[in-house]
């Protein structure tokens, strides 16, 4: 052996396994570190006590009953898209196209509300726009999957481009449905009659949004963990060759799963249009399609963990907007803080999978 070769000062070894509590402890440490760094950044900008700032964030989320429900509504929206992405990601299919799938679902819903709103009652409209949004999302997600299955076309780049086709398509329909003329917006659809809108449940405007998504959360968890389809998805995700060997048609699973993924994202568009904004614009998805990718990834495709991650991100966003308006800053502070926190959470994942061993500490066990 080369005598000058010494053990490196620092080396990395893969962990065989890690207790669940230990993993969560590491992630929690990452989050706390992130909040600390964010606090320093906030302090440098506004020169205010960070504790006060965090309590203002709490105020922004839950200060009033209305605010609380808007927070719940937004968590539901982000969660819904994350749920849609879960099956695709579990299959190792990088669906970056959620933003576009949400938009086409929104367009389909708006189309049904505008063209059928005159002669159909609300319950029929809701069913029709639900189906239309599911189909639109499934088609939008199915196209890249079909090409991936047939020709091996790179799905990350294909779905990414489909987002911008969908955004332009939305601009097109906004121009077509413009109301009033010259406003460059669609306006509130069926404002007077409120046909096709989600009805309030138990006196809460957004109760139906939240309930729908909660049902989806459970359903997707069961689908992925206990159904035959879920098993097939997991096998295809681990290894295409194994899947083929045990007689799974990889192409069929690929296309079916992506259509399902697109359909759930389309459903998020339905909820956003019929259940929240009652209008359609290029900001209907508002970047949630991209944020949801991070939600689904950090939660390791577990839909219940997604509730927590989505909740954290929405909390940060609402809180930062509150700080911004309270201290006369602009809303983009929230994106900055979100970015910092995500960097830390992403980094902390490393320590759940690897051990860092310093020289001189034998084995580090």
């Amino acid at each position: 052996m080369n005598p000058t070769h010494r053990e490196p000062w620092i080396r990395i070894a893969r962990r065989d396994s890690i207790a669940a509590w230990h993993g969560w402890l590491i992630r929690l440490a990452g989050l706390l570190l992130a909040l600390l760094v964010s606090a320093v950044v906030i302090y440098l900008i506004v020169r205010l006590n960070p504790i006060k700032v965090y309590s203002a964030m709490f105020e922004g989320n839950f200060g009033t009953n209305r605010r609380m429900w808007v927070t719940f509504r937004d968590i539901a929206m982000l969660l819904c898209i994350g749920i849609g992405l879960a099956p695709a990601f579990k299959m190792r299919f990088w669906n970056i196209g959620a933003e576009g799938q949400v938009l086409v679902g929104g367009i389909a819903t708006a189309a049904v509300m505008i063209y059928c709103g005159k002669f159909m009652p609300t319950w029929a409209l809701l069913i029709a726009s639900l189906l239309a949004s599911l189909v639109a999302g499934a088609v939008w997600g199915g196209i890249p999957a079909a090409f991936k299955a047939r020709y091996g076309t790179n799905e990350t780049l294909f779905t990414l481009m489909m987002n911008y086709v969908a955004i332009q398509l939305t601009s097109y329909f906004v121009a077509v449905w413009e109301n009033p003329f010259g406003s460059n917006t669609v306006g509130i659809i069926n404002q007077r009659t409120q046909t096709g809108w989600f009805p309030p449940l138990l006196g809460q405007k957004y109760m139906l949004n939240v309930l729908l998504v909660l049902v989806l959360t459970v359903a997707m968890f069961v689908y992925l963990r206990y159904s035959k389809h879920g098993y097939e998805i997991a096998v295809v995700g681990e290894s295409n060759k194994t899947a083929r060997y045990i007689g799974i048609s990889v192409k069929r699973v690929l296309i079916r799963t992506m259509m399902l993924s697109g359909a759930v994202c389309g459903l998020a568009g339905f909820i956003a249009v019929a259940g929240a904004s009652h209008t359609i614009s290029t900001s209907t998805a508002g970047g949630s399609g991209f944020t949801a990718i991070i939600v689904a990834w950090l939660a390791k495709f577990n839909t219940f963990v997604m509730v927590l991650v989505a909740g954290l991100l929405v909390f940060l966003e609402k809180g930062a907007i509150q700080i911004a308006s309270q201290y006369n800053l602009n809303d983009y502070a929230s994106q900055m803080i979100t970015g910092i926190i995500l960097f830390f959470i992403l980094g902390s994942e490393f320590f759940t999978r690897y051990r860092v061993i310093f020289r001189g500490r034998k084995g580090g066990r």
């Binding site: 970056i96 090409f147 992403l346």
Partner: protein
């Protein structure tokens, strides 16, 4: 004729922004790193350049354009390299997922840039907009001997810099040993590692240098495209994603990115020069660059010609002990 000329000029200015982005991203992707943080890096490069120039111009009574130019360039490069470093550290050393890290970088960059941009707009005097006219004029200065030559009459030096960088990148990737090593890392890191090439070093360097070039796109956008101001309208983000599209369109070849970027510019501005379009059909026209990119992506995957494929390990992490 005058219309064609003005379309070409608009296309070249538009194309230059995404050409910087694409050339930087090609270098990054050749190492196997799919950095979806391109819009974020462009944002950071743009805002850092603007911020540097703004501080300089407000602290000096009579700002010298050339000094402003150098300060802005330095700040933009520094910020973009830092952004590239964050991405590299997370994906290479900490082995985080590339797609997720890239998207986070985009969120972060757009947040920082729009936050600071909004703050600077406010500092510049309430409703008034920030303006760094001296520095911007240096960026927009044309070469005197070209001022009579039709299309070239209004182009600043960065237009030419982008073309030169694309050619240098092309030469580097095809003709130099380091370039070949880099491509080996992107195609098959395990083999490159076995051949004694430091995969980590190549990935870090190409990602950071790539980010620097990408950031220049943001600087050019701020200083030339919108003439030394700032607007929170998401303009950079749109162009950043088009730069990612251009990488695919050019099939990872910097030389093809040059004409590709101008073609994208023509496609993007075409609606403006075709008479009688309604506003709705204009929106359909703006879809063209993305549709064309999708078509290229499909055709390339159908024909399976080796030299047109993405780097084989694109998006895949590499850990030596995982094999």
């Amino acid at each position: 004729m005058a219309q064609v000329l003005s379309l070409l000029q608009a296309a070249i200015v538009f194309g230059t922004v995404i050409l910087f982005g694409a050339v930087g991203e090609i270098l990054t992707e050749k190492s196997g790193n799919l950095n979806l943080g391109v819009p974020g890096i462009m944002y950071l490069g743009g805002i850092a350049g603007l911020g540097g120039a703004f501080l300089y111009e407000t602290s000096v009574a009579a700002p010298v354009p050339l000094v402003g130019l150098i300060i802005a360039l330095f700040c933009a490069l520094l910020a973009s390299v830092l952004a590239g470093f964050i991405y590299s550290f997370l994906t290479i050393t900490l082995r985080a997922n590339q797609n997720v890290t890239g998207l986070t970088l985009t969120i972060f960059g757009s947040g920082v840039a729009n936050f600071l941009g909004g703050a600077m707009n406010k500092m510049a005097g309430g409703v008034g907009q920030i303006s760094v006219s001296a520095t911007s004029s240096a960026y927009r200065a044309t070469f005197p001997f070209l001022s009579e030559v039709g299309v070239l009459s209004s182009l600043g030096f960065m237009t030419y810099l982008a073309i030169v960088l694309a050619f240098i990148m092309s030469w580097f990737l095809r003709k130099t040993r380091k370039g070949l090593n880099l491509r080996a890392v992107g195609e098959n890191p395990a083999t490159a590692d076995a051949a004694g090439i430091s995969v980590t070093k190549y990935k870090y360097l190409s990602t950071c240098v790539g980010a620097a070039v990408t950031g220049l796109g943001g600087l050019y956008y701020v200083m030339d495209y919108i003439k030394g101001t700032w607007a929170n309208d998401g303009g950079i983000e749109k162009l950043g994603w088009l730069a990612v599209a251009l990488v695919i369109f050019a099939r990872w070849k910097p030389r093809h990115a040059i004409w590709g970027s101008y073609l994208f510019g023509v496609l993007f501005w075409l609606y403006f020069y075709i008479g009688g379009l309604t506003r709705s059909s204009q929106e359909l026209f703006k879809m063209l660059p993305y549709i064309v990119t999708i078509l290229v992506l499909i055709v390339v995957s159908m024909r399976r010609k080796h030299e047109n494929q993405p780097p084989a390990s694109l998006g895949q992490p590499y850990f030596r002990e995982d094999r």
